[in-house]
């Protein structure tokens, strides 16, 4: 690296405006014109995300953005431009650029007959050239190749098998990224936050993949456009709806069924998509002869809907929403939980170089527990939280070597942590309401991605967030021993406490040669909203709370270094990524914390710091008969919290040193394909008893320091078989069968280990292990028309 390049990096960090007119390859004086447009799928009109647009003669390129838009500002001249994307046929277009040109394109999906033609990836060497690391992007086509469980491939089940990601446990869709907590992942669906993405039992997430187009997981290098969670961003985009013809797809299975309908409304300027899914485990309960079991209700449903409208080449509008609920009920009790989101987005092109998106989003998460005994007081406990936010995002494609992104967003949070009401009470109990929690946050960000020389590109970002805890609300004041002194009640709108935080981001990509590159990144992130959950698995009974007078924002500094190498003409992608995270204001809970319905929740918190580090190895094959990936991750995470474990360092619950995933799909023939996953993960840290005492007539354990021991290792294998129909041209109805078995060899993976008094023998204690799913089969018929 010579001095010129170093000087350019320094200038770029200090003076973003000096980037204007930055050009590494061509004569700055030549006149530049814009080549821009939107890239779509020819079959259904869906915009394609991350299509590589490469200008051969200049050896430069860009990728299409989330809305399928690309923009290149290049000098006048004749060029050959390659448009390539995984699973689609590449189009090479010759253009004679003599003025601002709009070039919209539709790519044809690659079919099996076209095997001889080079089937390219989203630019075969995208993982080498892109300036993002710690990211895994999975298009719906890649996700569909992961073995299906319960008949459909679940998005979060696929995420849980990526390097650096660990499932939080059997029976939940929650996950931990690079040693972080389950509440440190920001999950967004069309830009609205989803707080709890799990359905009952954890086999299904709230994402119905018939309605999903793309999913990207950012594990380290979280873009400056988002903030608010320390460990990851999972960005999920819904399909826009087939704008060419009416189409449908769905599946009928043992446990659940789903249906999706999409199509144009009027012309191809407007399209819609509606997806619904419901499980019916309770149908089987109705067959039971036991009256108590018969009356049980157990189901969940999801509903996704979206309308997209293109006013003209410069304006598009999207309105989308999601609604879902899990319900369990019997005649004595019931509980239900669910999310809903609603977003309205407007894409506007100020010029071929300036793309903007404005959105208004709403999301809520709620749950409800009730006890309805025949005689006696009934109790109902409700929890509700909602976000309303506004976002304005701009992308300025200054030159192909330089893209500037900036924007503003603001969010209003409102949480109602608990409302308990009584029915049939003989004493007139008042409703017990925990005070509301309200907060307002807004942020400005700026981020620039630039190519500094032939081999070096860099990314710099800065985000300024202001987070205020506001009224109405009640804040308890504590002394140094966390005893309540008094409380202060704030009226609506009054600011209780504000935090301003600056989050810088930096990334460098050094291209060693055609097949390999070296990347480095640094990101500082903050988290202002976290979960008060004493459990290690995500539970539907999540309690969120915000930073404020008693709680400082959590912070994380993440350093990452990676080496990326492609083999066999880009058919195999390999990478090694090392990461180190240093976190401050880490939150944990005191021993035997009382979190349920506790308005003085903040007195149960204890604070300290933590760190995580590790290495991720990945080998991925995206083309050919055999596709899939193998990954190994070494990951450690520990923390020191004042007031817990006698202030001594201890392993965090997500310290799982060795994780090994094999995910594969093999096309045996045109009609038959088989898939398998194998997962191996070191056991979770656990606290064991090292002694016992007798009080009050029972034996009580005496424990070691926290998390000194480990549960047995977790491993399982799933398999699936897909039978496709004979390939017939002009086929109207396409149906395939999918059979799967979850946990094929039935390994008893411990979900919990408890030490209990043996009820048969006094004085005797024993260890018990609870495990969940073994040999779970499923059969589903999936169709498309």
């Amino acid at each position: 690296m010579n001095f010129m390049i170093l000087k350019r990096i320094v200038l770029m960090i200090l003076l973003p405006s000096s980037l204007l007119g930055f050009s590494a390859t061509s004569n700055p004086a030549a006149e530049r014109y814009s080549l821009s447009g939107t890239i779509k799928d020819e079959a259904n009109g869906e915009v394609l995300i991350g299509v590589s647009v490469f200008v051969r003669e200049l050896k430069i390129g860009v990728n299409s953005n989330t809305y399928g838009f690309y923009s290149l500002s290049i000098p006048k001249g004749k060029y050959t431009v390659d448009f390539s994307y995984i699973g689609y046929q590449t189009i090479s277009q010759t253009i004679d650029l003599s003025g601002s040109t709009q070039l919209n394109l539709e790519l044809k999906p690659a079919t099996n007959e076209m095997k001889e033609v080079v089937i390219t990836s989203r630019r075969k060497d995208n993982n080498i050239t892109s300036n993002t690391m710690g990211v895994n992007q999975l298009s719906i086509n890649t996700i569909r190749k992961v073995p299906a469980l319960m008949g459909e491939v679940d998005l979060l089940k696929a995420v849980q098998m990526l390097p650096g990601v660990i499932s939080a446990g059997e029976g939940t869709s929650s996950f931990s990224v690079r040693g972080g907590g389950v509440d440190q992942n920001l999950i967004v669906l069309d830009e609205a936050t989803v707080y709890n993405a799990s359905h009952l039992m954890g086999f299904f997430s709230v994402f119905n993949n018939d309605a999903i187009k793309n999913m990207t997981l950012y594990k380290g290098d979280i873009p400056a456009t988002y903030e608010g969670r320390l460990s990851s961003l999972l960005d999920v985009q819904m399909k826009d709806g087939n704008s060419k013809k009416f189409a449908g797809s769905g599946g009928i299975g043992l446990i659940s069924s789903r249906l999706t309908l999409e199509g144009p409304i009027g012309s191809d300027k407007t399209s819609y998509i509606v997806s619904a899914r419901r499980t019916y485990a309770d149908m089987f309960l109705k067959l039971s002869s036991d009256k108590d079991v018969k009356d049980n209700t157990l189901y969940f449903y999801d509903l996704n809907a979206k309308i997209s409208h293109r006013f003209d080449d410069n304006n598009r509008l999207f309105i989308s929403g999601y609604l879902g609920q899990d319900v369990f009920k019997n005649k004595d009790a019931g509980f239900s939980f669910g999310n809903s989101t609603f977003t309205t987005r407007w894409n506007h092109l100020f010029s071929p170089k300036m793309f903007s998106n404005f959105s208004l989003n709403y999301s809520n998460y709620n749950y409800d527990l009730e006890s309805t005994p025949e005689n006696g007081t009934g109790i109902q406990w409700k929890y509700f939280m909602k976000d309303v936010s506004f976002k304005a995002d701009f992308s300025w494609y200054i030159t192909p070597e330089n893209t500037l992104k900036f924007g503003y967003n603001s969010t209003l949070h409102n949480l109602k942590p608990g409302n308990v009401s009584f029915t049939n009470a003989t004493t007139a109990y008042e409703d017990y309401n925990l005070p509301d929690i309200n907060a307002f946050e807004h942020a400005l960000y700026l981020s620039d991605e630039a190519k500094i020389s032939d081999n070096l590109s860099a990314k710099v970002g800065l985000r300024l967030t202001g987070f205020s805890s506001i009224g109405k609300g009640t804040v308890y004041n504590f002394d140094e021993d966390y005893n309540v002194i008094d409380s202060t009640v704030y009226r609506a709108g009054k600011v209780i406490k504000t935090y301003y935080r600056l989050s810088p981001r930096l990334g460098l990509n050094y291209r060693i040669n055609e097949q390999s590159s070296l990347k480095a990144s640094y990101a500082r992130t903050y988290q202002f909203l976290q979960m008060a959950s004493n459990s290690t698995a995500g539970t539907p009974l999540d309690l969120w709370f915000t930073s404020g007078k008693n709680v400082k924002p959590q912070s994380c500094d993440q350093f990452a270094l990676g080496y990326f190498r492609n083999f066999a003409d880009n058919k195999l992608e390999g990478s090694v990524e090392l990461f180190y995270k240093k976190m401050e204001n880490t939150i944990d809970f005191k021993d035997h914390a009382d979190l349920l319905l506790n308005p003085k929740l903040e007195g149960q918190l204890r604070f300290g710091h933590s760190r995580a580090y590790g290495a991720e190895f990945l080998l991925q094959k995206n083309e050919g008969k055999l596709t899939g990936w193998i990954s190994y991750t070494y990951s450690r995470t520990e923390r020191t919290i004042y007031g817990v474990n006698n202030d001594k360092n201890y392993l965090a619950p997500y310290d799982r040193p060795h994780t090994f995933y094999i995910v594969g799909n093999y096309d045996l023939s045109e009609r038959v394909s088989i898939g398998a996953n194998f997962i191996y993960c070191t056991g979770q840290p656990i606290t064991y008893p090292i002694g016992r005492m007798e009080v009050g007539g029972i034996v009580v354990p005496i424990y070691s320091d926290r998390n000194e021991y480990r549960m047995p290792d977790y491993h399982r294998m799933d398999v699936s078989l897909t039978l496709k129909p004979k390939a017939k041209p002009k086929r109207k109805w396409y149906g395939e069968w999918n059979f799967s078995i979850y946990n094929l060899y039935g390994h008893k993976n411990p979900w919990a280990i408890n030490f209990v008094n043996d009820s048969d023998n006094p004085n005797t204690t024993k260890a018990e292990m609870t495990y969940l799913f073994r040999f779970v089969p499923s059969a589903t018929y999936n169709f498309k028309f």
Partner: protein, 293 residues
């Protein structure tokens, strides 16, 4: 009542289908430590303080008792020495006419012991103040069927003292013998939602359909309602949480049950005593259970 919180834990877990089996785990061990289990209340009777030792987790026998210790009890003005029961070693008793007084602070001192067998005598201390005594006006017992089985609900009529935070310990007797004999069967509550209210036919405890608890026609039922300190209530809560075990959905991290026993001699030693010494006030009311047709 705090009790309802546990209802939610139970019913939400119903949604899960799981299997539980015994497993074999090798555990580490520690040298024996002091365990104090002692209560003084306002009844005029013999009050007992039990001193035991800790043991290995899978020792699977009754705990070793600590014999020959000097145990004294002071009420702030005068002090008595408890007598070890010659038939029941490790049980240190007050005279049978001893009673606790509301408002007084009692200090328990244990000396003349060498638990860690290092040749140096140790001394331990704990204090507890007796809270307000409740007045129970009357109780009733009714049978109910829910979650598929019979239960007997014991309801109370009493006034929660206004102007102060009150904590309750609830036990039940059937024909004058204690039904809720082990700590996980005790009821605990705090008056957060009913401070200052008159509790009108409010359920305090329920008896299950098991041999030690079920009721027959004409059984005498006594409800014992004691005023306890907040810390003692949390101690009982900690023990109950540890008793029931935990599942990953709701349980927190395992943690040691709290204690109010402090080691005072030698000074500066790591605090290793366990258990609780509590002084509280007790009130009772009885009724005869009549089975409805």
């Amino acid at each position: 009542m705090r009790l309802y919180k546990y209802i939610y834990i139970a019913l939400a877990s119903l949604a899960f289908v799981s299997c539980t089996e015994d497993i074999d785990i090798k555990l580490d061990s520690i040298a024996p430590e002091l365990v104090v289990d002692g209560v003084i209340n306002t009844d005029t009777t013999t009050h007992t303080i039990y001193l035991k030792e800790t043991a290995d987790y899978f020792s699977n026998k009754a705990a070793e008792v600590i014999s020959g210790a000097t145990v004294t009890l002071s009420d702030g003005t005068s002090s008595i020495t408890l007598t070890e029961n010659s038939d029941k070693k490790g049980a240190y008793e007050t005279p049978s006419n001893y009673f606790g007084v509301v408002g007084k602070t009692y200090t328990l001192t244990i000396s003349n012991v060498d638990i860690n067998a290092d040749g140096v005598k140790e001394e331990f201390q704990a204090t507890s103040t007796i809270p307000t005594k409740y007045q129970v006006d009357k109780i009733s017992v009714n049978k109910e069927r829910s979650f598929g089985s019979d239960r007997w609900l014991v309801n109370v009529w009493m006034q929660d003292p206004p102007d102060e935070r009150n904590y309750y310990l609830i036990k039940a007797y059937r024909n004058d013998s204690l039904v809720t004999d082990s700590i996980q069967l005790w009821g605990i509550a705090s008056d957060e939602i009913f401070k200052g209210y008159y509790l009108d036919n409010v359920r305090m405890i329920s008896l299950e359909d098991i041999p030690s608890q079920r009721l027959k026609n004409n059984d005498k039922v006594t409800l014992e309602v004691s005023g306890i300190s907040e810390d003692y209530m949390y101690f009982i809560n900690d023990v109950i949480l540890e008793y029931w075990g935990r599942n990953p959905l709701f349980g927190g991290q395992p943690a040691n049950v709290r204690t109010n026993i402090q080691q005072t001699v030698p000074e500066g030693e790591e605090q290793t005593a366990h258990g609780y010494f509590s002084a509280y006030s007790t009130a009772r009311a009885s009724t005869v259970y009549t089975e409805e047709e």
